[in-house]
Symmetry: D2
Subunit: 344 residues, 4 copies
């Protein structure tokens, strides 16, 4: 923490600040300039910087250390690779997770699983518990849905990612799924984060609609602090003033998070853009910008999907996209997980 | 729902849209203009408007009905008054809720309770379970805290408002508190909303940092749909690009919500502005703009508060503010709950 | 400027930073902590902090001094009072500026002038040159409009505020108006700001839709740096994700600007909220929060106004509002300019 | 325009709305539903929808036609190709514009011109007039700068793009530059837009920091309405709550604008991200998402650049990026202007 005193701060005020810092266990280094006295405070304690901003004579306070530790790049400078079966997320593989918004039944899952596997996906997605903005919308098929997607995945050699909304659903997660998805609305549901932290199931943590990147890393810290370090961070669009898109995909978050944290970054373009025809450009952009994986809504008959059909790609669109992604991942020295690299 | 067809939409496309609408139970009224054909669709079903935007020939889709019903002004045009003991929230009383961010111990609660009661508050606030952005911050005193604040409130004839973060805490809420506070981060924690909806304890629902007013009303709908209609809406600042303040208090939300909904509107200026010295201007503004109540952080010794001391008013500041609020509430034909109206 | 070095920065890297700072004329104070070395740099030069962030070994850079000087509170701690005739903006008077969005003709100006003067306004507003988002909208009456509003103002003892969009309009401004309004879209039109800075006409500078408060003060600095210190700052709403209102009035800007700057703060609720029926609550809120004045759209027949009728108050609404404002200004130890204080 | 009447609107209110619409020249089609009466209004006039929202009995008003015409995709469904010399912007070429933020002198321009040409750029950028947030920053070399960049461009077979801030600079633009850049702060400087519309010099119009895509297209309409249809739209980042980046690059704007307008879309990643090391990921993302060109800050010695050195790529970084872009443009069936397509 660096504290800058006002130009006209008295010596007594400077000493009071030093006293307060020392009483909280900080080592203080004082630098008396012509205009401003600057106090550098080093210590392990996380404090509310505003508590010092309010002290007489203080002009401003800057935090030096990031408030997250386990999630920071410094904790593991070489980057994390999350291994699940053959899939290595955070390596030079780009990992594709694709499937319907909501699990409708086994037959539909099986159709989608066969096709997305053939096109190059490693993981099937599908929701059994659906958080919906309106209480009158469809809320998911629960355990039956999980059974269906597990069976379809096993038929085709895929892993499963699915959302968990409450701690009470965690035993089902242990039985049926490989990666827990934590929805954007639950990014700061700290009880849930802690409970997931106590399992060893890999978790994909979606960035909240108005969460800063720093907030996202602090939420990851909640999970990691309990012992589960298998965390994937997911950019899925933030809320801005622009109304042409459902959310604004923050493409810059990819290099920024890679710089601040060792955790892999997955991008969900479907929720960001909200309409099918613009998913492919954003998916290509994400891989070009260095994303470690994609989470895509794909449906064999989106016009009749129970939910979010508008933002689900058709199977043919997905096939075409995967061809483009093979080339683009080659341009950034990577390859699609499970596929041969493209020579460029 | 109103569907506008493209200028060059074919008759067949128009008929397909009409067919889809009718198959979903809508009554369709067609208006064929020189440039555009417009379809008015009336029905009870809540649909995803994007499902129609994707249909060939459709230019745009506008939702007519609000997706919330119980929370809408039309449901109770005269406005709701939530009665708790002598306090009538939503009436011509302006109700003041004041107290520390976190409950530290009984003695401190008692000091604050005595003073805020004397100054004109009807309800004491204080947190026993604290949602914190960092896992390393203080997390609250739990049931001991609730006992302390209940006793202090009873000593001085105050009601109690306190936050509940998980359904497992609801039995404690039934025992100790009069109004459940639902934090901004939990505004879309639908499981929690439903569980609170099954109680009959009045609930103050805080607007999420990036929630639109429409999102807030839909969240209220989750509670009300379970039978609990005693909901207070709380504006506490939204996230914007401005960094001088912790959040941007959306003062316009007061008249806008009053127009859209029958539920009372409470304003929390402390969390919006984040620093003590600017709480009073915002509190005055909220009452002047028509707020039904205020939620204020007040502490007898904020420099040594366990949490959020920087945004807690001192007791003397609170006394001064209450004097100003008495006059301002008079200017808008109201009075502070439990106080004589000011003649103006 | 405070520069924090990385934990593992080498001595050579620290010396390079010191060398770079000194070569730019900074005095450097070094504080070597256990974890971080901190460099405090004091000097007059405004530099791009990113130039230091890019240097090897640097962790982060914090600017200490605000980049604006003349606009800062430190430049005139007692606050500025802008005197124009009998009106003293920034004093204990609350100054009301009211009138139509656009000047339609003399008769209409005269009707409005008579009524707003009687109700307590000191200044009449009205646009002769209109910036419009669409090139196909009405663009204003130009000099004829200015003549009309000047005459109406003189008939009733009012001052005139009107917008100038280009430097070529400044000679007309000198002839006809008392306060130049600089529109939100021109807040960073630096050529125009400089040209206005070379006159001595008081200028009301509107905050741009996405301008931070710091940006606004820097824009004021452009005017003041040329010698014109008669600047009024105007909060008129910022762009956020909320779509229920045209813009989000940043009510907190009032105390924040008063803290950072000595310049008076005027609030324009009409442009923020965009609809007539919600102007009064915001106007009351602004005065309650400490605004030095209001800029209000008022029209004698808003349903037939050429432009922005929807956000213009009717004359009766304005009368009622002024009664409320008299009381509220009393609650904050002020009075409406030209009116007797209210005893409270 | 579609007007939805309130459920309980009287017949007289419906007729009043119809009368008002007809008096403004609209053809009205009425559709009387069980719950709501819907009025479809067709006409050429651009009106303020709020004027109808305020009428008694009206529930809501939806605009059907976009307020821009010449800029809309419907005006030229096949898309515009802007030809300047050999360069065809909006074709299957991806056009690279690269160079320093500000023109320092001829020698430096010549070094950069040689290198960016060799790497595959077609256009050199560089500012002679600099809009700066602070009045105390460097403001550009003016005509001397333009001469220098013109000469360097001619030496190496490049076109020139440079910013014009005021109409008085247009004669210089005619003499020295091929594309006028209109800065983000001037996006709604309507006088300047009109003056540029009267020339036939191609113009690159940068999106304002808080401009919606619709605002951007309306600003383009101002230029086009005067006769100059050679407009390039430039996404350069919008202002959001995220503070890790200078602005948030709205990557979705590329497919969204391509859908709404026939004008080419150029992306400026340098201003969005603000730091050198993250420009390449965003540049790759933009081409992958379908951008028609890039505007990049490149400097031969950015650490000593007069301005914005932190966000200028080094020449070696630019060379590497161009190799990646060749592959990525191949993946989307395009090639870098002036380069052989890559076989993929």
């Amino acid at each position: 923490m660096v504290i800058v005193m006002h130009r006209d701060a008295t010596e007594k005020q400077v000493e009071q600040v030093i006293g307060k810092l020392e009483s909280q266990g900080f080592d203080v280094h004082r630098s008396t300039g012509v205009e401003h006295t600057i106090l550098g405070a080093v210590g392990a304690k996380v404090v509310d910087t505003r508590d010092y901003e309010m002290v007489e004579g203080v002009k401003e306070v800057h935090r030096i250390s990031e408030p997250y530790k386990l999630a920071s790049r410094a904790f593991r400078p070489e980057g994390s690779v999350i291994e699940i079966g053959d899939v290595k997320i955070g390596s030079d593989q780009v990992v594709i997770m694709a499937g319907p918004c909501t699990i409708e039944n086994f037959e539909f899952c099986d159709i989608v699983a066969e096709r997305v596997k053939a096109a190059g996906a490693s993981i099937i997605r599908g929701g059994a518990f659906k958080p919906r903005t309106s209480p009158y919308s469809f809320q998911g098929h629960g355990e039956e849905g999980l059974k269906a997607i597990r069976k379809a995945a096993d038929n085709h050699g895929l892993l499963v990612i699915s959302e968990v909304m409450e701690a009470s659903q965690l035993p089902l997660a242990e039985d049926y799924i490989d990666i827990i998805q934590i929805g954007a609305r639950n990014m700061q549901n700290y009880g849930l984060l802690r409970d997931i932290g106590k399992t060893n199931i890999p978790a994909l943590l979606k960035r909240g609609m108005s969460a800063t990147i720093s907030d996202l890393l602090l939420a990851a810290e909640y999970i990691m602090a309990e012992g589960n370090h298998n965390v994937l961070l997911c950019e899925r669009g933030i809320r801005t003033f622009e109304t042409q898109t459902r959310n604004t995909l923050d493409i810059s978050a990819i290099p920024v998070i890679h710089n601040l944290s060792h955790l892999p970054v997955i991008v969900d373009p479907s929720h960001a853009i909200g309409v099918r025809d613009k998913i492919a450009p954003l998916a290509r952009a994400a891989v070009a910008a260095g994303a470690d994986g994609l989470l895509l809504e794909v449906h064999h008959d989106p016009d009749n999907a129970i939910c979010d059909g508008a933002q689900s790609m058709k199977l043919d669109q997905f096939d075409d996209l995967m061809q483009e992604l093979r080339v683009i991942s080659g341009a950034v020295d990577r390859s699609i997980a499970g596929q041969e690299p493209v020579e460029v």
